[in-house]
């Protein structure tokens, strides 16, 4: 009896596979991993001197999977988009399954894409799943001599006990590869003065932005609204990207002497 029992237990243990659900937060990621690094390599190589550079910004798909699929297929219809930036909240509850669902939809894109982490993506072990599928939470890449600096601003998720936003990272990025870029665009999930952004560094954050060469503008998600704001009343524009449910995204066209932007409904 005991032998049979042990034998069956081992069989059960070995049989664990896709049909078996271990736990919503088990961080057992199958399929594509480390996507940001892979895509940034593609972007940096393909669009190093691409001018004009056309970038689509999407955000906050949460669980609106049908809308998100429509968004991706609408982007696939466009041949003029060079790459796509997702501003975070790939999931609603940070489960593995949701991460895999949104990743598989994103992977249907014909264009390269990078993805920021949103506050919902931290729930449970979500941030660990993000690390596996996408990579570092702060990252940057260069295309058309513009540096895209992606900063994790979800400080509430760390109970304000981590360096978020990370000023060391920002300092490094101001000077790193200085010979390869002349302009900068800052991308984040939660904008300054939002419930995730730590209040006491809102102004310090703005000061740091001035050290980035040729600062163009900032882009954020989180608010589920398409909006353009001069948050600090000093002329620096912040573009809020709508959620997938809002069924619109924003395209930026960066030329040698500036940029144009338009909201696209789908």
């Amino acid at each position: 009896m005991r032998k049979l029992f042990i034998g069956l237990s081992i069989l059960l243990y070995l049989s664990c596979d896709d049909v078996f659900q271990t736990h919503p937060y088990d961080v057992n990621i199958k399929g594509e991993k480390n996507l940001n690094a892979k895509n940034m390599a593609i972007i940096e190589e393909a669009f190093a001197n691409k001018n004009p550079l056309r970038v689509a910004f999407i955000s906050d798909n949460h669980l609106w999977q049908s809308d998100f699929r429509d968004e991706i297929s609408d982007l696939n219809k466009r041949t003029d988009v060079d790459f796509v930036v997702h501003c975070g909240d790939l999931t609603d509850t940070g489960t593995n399954k949701e991460f895999e669902w949104s990743r598989d939809i994103l992977c249907m894109l014909n264009h390269p894409f990078v993805t920021l982490i949103g506050n919902h993506d931290f729930l449970g072990t979500g941030d660990q799943a993000y690390d596996v599928i996408y990579g570092e939470k702060n990252f940057s890449f260069i295309a058309n001599r513009i540096k895209f600096v992606c900063i994790n601003t979800n400080a509430t998720e760390y109970n304000y006990m981590a360096a978020v936003p990370d000023f060391n990272f920002m300092e490094e990025e101001m000077v790193k590869d200085a010979d390869r870029f002349d302009r900068t665009i800052i991308i984040m999930h939660a904008p300054p003065y939002s419930d995730q952004f730590p209040d006491n560094v809102v102004k310090a954050f703005r000061r740091y932005l001035d050290f980035f060469p040729g600062l163009i503008c900032c882009v954020y998600g989180h608010v589920h609204r398409n909006e353009v704001k001069d948050i600090y009343n000093d002329g620096l524009l912040f573009y809020g990207i709508d959620s997938a449910e809002g069924r619109n995204y924003r395209i930026f066209t960066f030329t040698a002497d500036g940029y144009e932007t338009e909201q696209i409904d789908y």
Partner: protein, 226 residues
Amino acid sequence: MKQSRLITSLLLLLCSLQITAGDSIFVQQSHESKYDMRIRRYRKHWAGLIPTQFVIQNAGNMGLLSAGLGWNYGSRRQWETDLMVGFIPKHQSTRTKMTMTLKENYIPWSITPRADFNKQKLLSVEPLTASLYINTVYGDEFWKNQPNRYPDKYYEFMSTKFRLNVALGQRITMNIPEKLRVRHSRVSLFYEVSTCDLYIRAMFQDSSVKLKDIIGLSLGIKLQTL
């Protein structure tokens, strides 16, 4: 009903003891003292807490493998409560995690097939089991209630620590012949198809999430001791 039967049988037993006592030199006390009766009841009540079964099963959003003790009750022993401990392997996360599950099963029918191979009624089939269980996962990544660093109702759903799960399944039970019994009287093999609250919520939020995307299989063994 049961109690009266128990009392009658006890009385009968006492009578028989008395009859034999009459023939022997020992004289058996004819009445159970109040103390003995209380002790008997006391033992009987606590004996109800002795687990009747041992369960081991995999997956089911409780971890890779969970094992625990359980109790069955009801007129046909159609209700079961299991308390299980499981673990989630480290995988790509920072550490291995422990889980605990409180599971309630309802087994409406048990069918004994009338076939030649089953003349001794050793085999029975439970065509449906319905389960509801709460799973908790240990670790500081998970919270029971939304911590107060968040604004009110920031995350609408209840908790990252506790999951409510539902499952439907089937069983096949083998009655071990009395001569061969060592520790257990019956062995059941079962499977369950389950899902959890977060996934059901996802299905309600978007129609493109299909039932097959959110259900998972779980296999298990139940060893019935009592």
